[in-house]
């Protein structure tokens, strides 16, 4: 490759005719290879990013040919819309809770699973199954599990411990924690698998050195494993928060956003405004607001955490 680059550069001054032709045809061939993917991505991925912003400046219901340009009016409305603001607060609550509980839990199980014992891969599979199960079907099962009287399995089980039946998804205070629990259950396996990959990439010498220094198990975990695992933890934290802010299917199936709007989320609001009330501009503005929030949170995590992430060199 390097030698070829050099010849290319030497020849760049006066490329011979057949050579230029060949390069032209290689370019054309490469574009043909990329064309199918590029076409789809351009129309349904890149163009819509710009178009969404344009639409967010309009008042438009799609059926009416009249589109009113309202500037940043939709964004101004967002900031005063109590339903959207509470959706944003609920989504933040959901995201922080599901990541703050889910990630440490995944780490504990990854460390437990990171050993050569029979049965470990069986446990890993058990934890992973919920991740490949459709959220829609899983939510239906959890809805039944959370049934609010003594017939629900969960109420039956806590009844065995002497706790009276709870209302779960129907209780304004319990509904969001109940939704968070389902989200953690669903994502745990993925986080464990990624943590395991991170744990296995730590070279044995670090552990040997720690052992020679007489470190106990907790010290090894605290001062060797945790710092060397920090790139994985950081990665999971970032993608976990991004994914959590887009929560929609769970409240759609479990609570329809209730009770008292306590599980109404940003994407739920976007769905309602755009595809039930057909307020295209307002929905697009909500999508961009979500984008902005996710972007800010990712940047904040970067600012605060990159100094603490140790990259093994």
């Amino acid at each position: 490759m390097a030698a070829q680059d050099r010849t290319d550069r030497v020849l760049q001054g006066a490329p011979s005719r057949p050579r230029r032709l060949r390069r032209l045809s290689e370019n054309a061939e490469a574009y043909l290879f990329i064309l199918p993917a590029a076409l789809v991505l351009a129309v349904f991925n890149l163009f819509p990013i710009l178009y969404a912003f344009f639409v967010s400046l309009l008042r438009w219901n799609l059926i009416d040919p009249v589109r009113t340009f309202v500037g940043l009016g939709n964004y101004a409305e967002l900031l005063q819309d109590p339903r959207f603001l509470s959706a944003l607060a609920n989504t933040t609550y959901f995201s922080v809770a599901s990541v703050a509980v889910g990630l440490p839990l995944a780490l504990v199980f990854a460390v437990l699973l990171n050993r050569t014992l029979t049965g470990m891969s069986w446990y890993r599979t058990a934890f992973f199954v919920p991740y490949v199960t459709s959220l829609a079907a899983a939510a239906m099962v959890w809805h039944w599990l959370y049934h609010p009287d003594q017939f629900g399995l969960l109420n039956y089980l806590i009844g065995k411990l002497g706790v009276s039946p709870q209302r779960w998804l129907l209780d304004p205070g319990q509904a969001m924690p109940a939704v968070v629990a389902v989200a953690i259950w669903s994502g745990l396996g993925r986080d464990i698998v990624i943590f395991l990959a991170g744990l296995q990439s730590i070279t044995a010498e670090y552990y040997e050195a720690a052992q020679i220094d007489g470190a106990n198990r907790w010290q090894v975990f605290r001062y060797v494993t945790l710092p060397l695992l920090s790139p994985t933890t950081y990665f999971l934290l970032v993608i976990g928060m991004i994914g959590a802010f887009k929560v929609f299917v769970l409240p759609l199936f479990l609570t329809q956003g209730g009770p008292l709007g306590r599980t109404f989320t940003v994407v739920y609001s976007l769905y309602q405004q755009g595809f039930q009330y057909f307020r295209m501009g307002y929905a697009a503005a909500q999508a961009y607001a979500l984008f902005a929030v996710i972007f800010i949170i990712t940047m904040l995590q970067r600012r605060i955490l990159t100094g603490r992430v140790h990259y093994d060199t």
Binding site: F44, A136, A137, W185, I194, Y207, L270, A287
Partner: protein, 289 residues
């Protein structure tokens, strides 16, 4: 199940052989948690097989007196699930085939061809991963309406025929194929096209299986987009069908659980058959598809 796993949990420390008993607490802890994680599956299957009178009981009925298979027949017949399944199969299969072809072609170009604008285009593609897919919902819906594609397979399939994740994964894999192979093929007069299909593709089976599985899974489980672009039952995939079914038959857990069971079955079978590719793909890429 342990067989064939590529990411085997190996301790980095050379552990001395300990008697089995010392690991008992770990096994007990893991077994109990795994049981809790799988409890919803037990509830799903056991409810789906309960006779009507054993669904709402106090205390809970752990084992039904007989297996009420008729629940499956009832659930299947109470909604056009046959149609939903055909739709889902068509959508997921076409999407998977499409993503494999477009990703292989583009991935090959990015990995092994030299052309003007290669880095810029690749960065542009990767950049779209930073934008949450929800941003594209409204404009894509408008595009679909303008094309007259509402309630059509085109609306459900075409927007998903290319995947940045697929292109990225293929590019990484193709870049690892030795240059000598390409030189030899070029010497024999093979074009890029021939080299791709005759040499690169056969050497890249794991990459193809991983992309195919993750695409199929994502497509089968997708809800938001199909919910938006379908209004008639005839065009619904299974998961959107489940939503309307749960609205209609919400008071009958035995029917809901039967429907949930047969809806997740295709993906679970695929997962258990090829789980090492799933887990490897997730561990390596870590990206949600």
């Amino acid at each position: 199940m342990a067989r064939g796993s590529t990411i085997t949990p190996t301790s980095s420390r050379p552990a001395p052989r300990r008697p089995w008993l010392t690991h008992l607490p770990i096994h007990v802890a893991l077994l109990m948690t795994a049981g809790l994680v799988l409890l919803p599956y037990y509830l799903m299957v056991v409810t789906s097989l309960k006779p009507v009178r054993e669904v709402f009981t106090d205390p809970f009925t752990w084992i039904p007196s007989r297996l009420a298979w008729e629940n499956y027949v009832d659930a299947w017949n109470h909604a056009p699930f046959g149609r939903y399944f055909v739709n889902s199969m068509i959508i997921s299969a076409s999407e998977t085939a499409g993503v494999l072809v477009t990703s292989a072609l583009a991935g090959y170009a990015f990995a092994r061809m030299r052309f003007v604008g290669r880095e810029v285009l690749f960065t542009l593609f990767l950049g779209t991963l930073m934008v949450p897919g929800e941003v594209q919902l409204v404009p894509n819906y408008i595009t679909i309406v303008r094309l007259g594609w509402l309630n059509s397979y085109s609306a459900l399939i075409v927007p998903w025929l290319a995947s940045v994740f697929g292109i990225f994964l293929m590019r990484q894999f193709f870049a690892g194929i030795p240059q000598e192979l390409q030189d030899a093929a070029t010497m024999d007069g093979a074009s890029h096209w021939t080299f791709l299909w005759r040499v690169v593709v056969p050497l890249s089976t794991p990459a193809f299986i991983t992309v195919a599985l993750l695409t199929f899974l994502g497509s089968w489980n997708a809800l938001t987009w199909p919910l938006i672009v379908t209004t008639t039952p005839e065009m619904r995939p299974v998961m959107v069908g489940l939503l309307s079914f749960s609205g209609e038959w919400g008071t009958q857990p035995r029917l809901l659980m039967a429907a949930a069971t047969f809806s997740v079955l295709p993906v679970l079978v695929l997962f258990f058959a090829l789980q090492r590719y799933f887990i490897q793909g997730i561990a390596r890429a870590g990206l949600k598809f």
